[in-house]
Each structure stands twice: as structure tokens, then as C-alpha cells.
Point group: C2
Chain length 143, copies 2
DNA sequence: TTATCATTTGCAACTAAGTTGCATTTTTAT
DNA sequence: ATAAAAATGCAACTTAGTTGCAAATGATAA
């Protein structure tokens, strides 16, 4: 783990107390380019003690504060990914998720600007406020 | 329940044995314009005995045969909806689901043709095979 | 730095959703 | 009508996630 400075800063920014558990979970999510499940994260953190309940609560806190978001997968799992861009600022409410049908990895892609969103009028009586685009197929690793 | 003829026909069409449980579940799904959860369906079927395990297996069978599809919701539930159009033929692999943020109902909308799908080239290394569009907002009932 | 208070953590017990195995019943094909 | 195959119901079980609470830790202000 590099300089914790940045990590601590991020936690502060989102109004979260700095604890070793949170730093570790944040670091784990930052190192991953795919969304991770509770089980994924737990298995990656072996050097410090981390109770499953603490992890559940940590992830909830991340989501509630807006630091991360969660995706419900087809197999009824929750995957977590940070809402940070490379520059540390908050991203999109609207997401594009890519789900690999071979390895089940979920990637959070930047919303492709050329994707048209159906406007409210196109769907009678439904007022669209945000959207999530889920793409299924083969990811680069499984090619 | 109307003429069971049509119901039986559908089950046959999808290679499913005709049983009272399946007819009842099929009917329940046909009467609904929203996707239903295991619990929803169970609570709607009170006149005949229907074990929770049977319902799980029935829904699995529907999905496996292609008669229905399931949607994982944000709250880690599974909702089921038939893949039948009004005319009884199979629809789209690609879905648009509308999730109401007030009542949590999930509607399966016909894919709006004006919605652009990002092609493979737009997402480097990711081969897109199918997609699901999730719209969030307010449904007609909650307006 | 230290004392204080609020928050977070870990543990154990609990809850609820979903699964498995198996004996019985129902359906379909002969 | 009968036999084989599949579906059903039940009980026991598994597992993910939750709750309550006592102990530990982090933030704040003297």
C-alpha cells in the first residue's frame, strides 16, 4: 500500500472516519478495474483481521456516502465499485456496466456519449430520471 | 382462469409438462404487466396448494425453457416475466426494464428502436453480444 | 498530550432465502 | 390401463446477510 495520504483524503472528502478497515477496503477497490463482491474483497484482505460484518458495514458506508456504488448481478450478488475517476472526482449517476458471460466479471465503463437515451416522451407515462446500461458479451481477458 | 387451452399450448410449445402448478404460475405471470418475484407469485396463488420449492423449480423451468426471463433487482431479488408478446411468440434477447423508484415495480418495455447500442468497436476489446437497458424514474401509477 | 464522546469493530446469535434429497404423486407415452 | 419419467411436497440443511451489544478506536477540544 502506497502513501495513505490520498486514501485518507478520499475518506475525509466523503465524510467517513478513517479506520484501518476502511483504508484497506478502499485500497482494494482502487486496485481493481472490476467491481468486487463482498466475498472477493474478504478473500483479498488476509493480512489484517476483517470481520464479515465490518465489511458489510464498510461497503454500506461507502455506498451511502457516494464514494462507491453497487451493482446487483444476475446471480444475485452485489458487486461494489468506486465512483472515482482517475482524477479523484465523482462520476456519473448513469452507468454502463459490462458483464462478461464467460468469467462473470463486471466492468464499469464510462458512459459512451454516442449512446442515445430514450427520452420520457418515448415511453408513455414513464418519467425517466437515470439509467443503467448493461452490456453482455466477452471481455478482453476472455477473448 | 379462462380457457386453459392457450396455457397448455404454451407449455407444450416450450417443452414443459402440463401440471396444475405450472398452469397457475403461467396464468399469474400472464395477468401481470409487471415482473413478479417468487414472493409476489406465492402470495397471489392461494386457491391451490403450492410449495415454495415447487415454485422455485417452476420458475427455473420457465427460464431454462425460454418461456420467461428473470431480472435481478437492486435489492437482490429476482423478478420473473414472460418472454411472450401479445401474439404468443418469443421476444427479444435484448431488454429494456423500467424500475420505478417509488414503488419498485419493474416493467418490461419493448426495446425502443431509437435507442442506439454502442457497437463493439466503441468499447475497446469488449465484444458486446446482448444488452439490457435499465431505466429508473417514476412509473405511470406513481405519478 | 490527554480525556471524553461518538463511532466503528468483532463476536455470537439469529433470520430468511434458497437448496437438496427423498418418498409420493402426477403426467405422458405405449 | 400400465409403466417410465418427471414434477411435487416435505423436512432438513446451507449460506448470505442482519442485529444487539460490549470492547476498541478515532476525532475533538481542553
Amino acid at each position: 500500500m502506497l502513501s495513505q495520504k490520498r486514501h485518507k483524503n478520499i475518506l475525509h472528502q466523503y465524510g467517513l472516519k478513517v479506520t484501518s478497515a476502511r483504508l484497506r477496503v478502499l485500497d482494494t477497490l482502487m486496485r481493481s478495474n472490476i467491481a468486487l463482491s463482498h466475498a472477493d474483497i474478504l478473500s483479498k484482505i488476509r493480512d489484517i483481521q476483517l470481520d464479515k460484518v465490518t465489511l458489510y458495514r464498510t461497503l454500506d458506508a461507502f455506498v451511502k456516502s457516494g464514494l462507491a456504488h453497487k451493482v446487483a448481478t444476475e446471480d444475485r450478488n452485489w458487486l461494489y465499485a468506486l465512483d472515482l475517476s482517475e482524477h479523484g472526482d465523482t462520476v456519473h449517476r448513469n452507468h454502463t456496466h459490462f458483464i462478461c458471460d464467460y468469467c462473470d466479471r463486471v466492468y464499469c465503463l464510462p458512459v459512451s456519449p454516442q449512446v442515445g437515451i430514450p427520452d420520457s416522451s418515448s415511453v408513455e407515462g414513464f418519467e425517466v430520471r437515470s439509467h443503467e446500461f448493461r452490456l453482455h458479451g466477452t471481455c478482453p481477458q476472455c477473448h
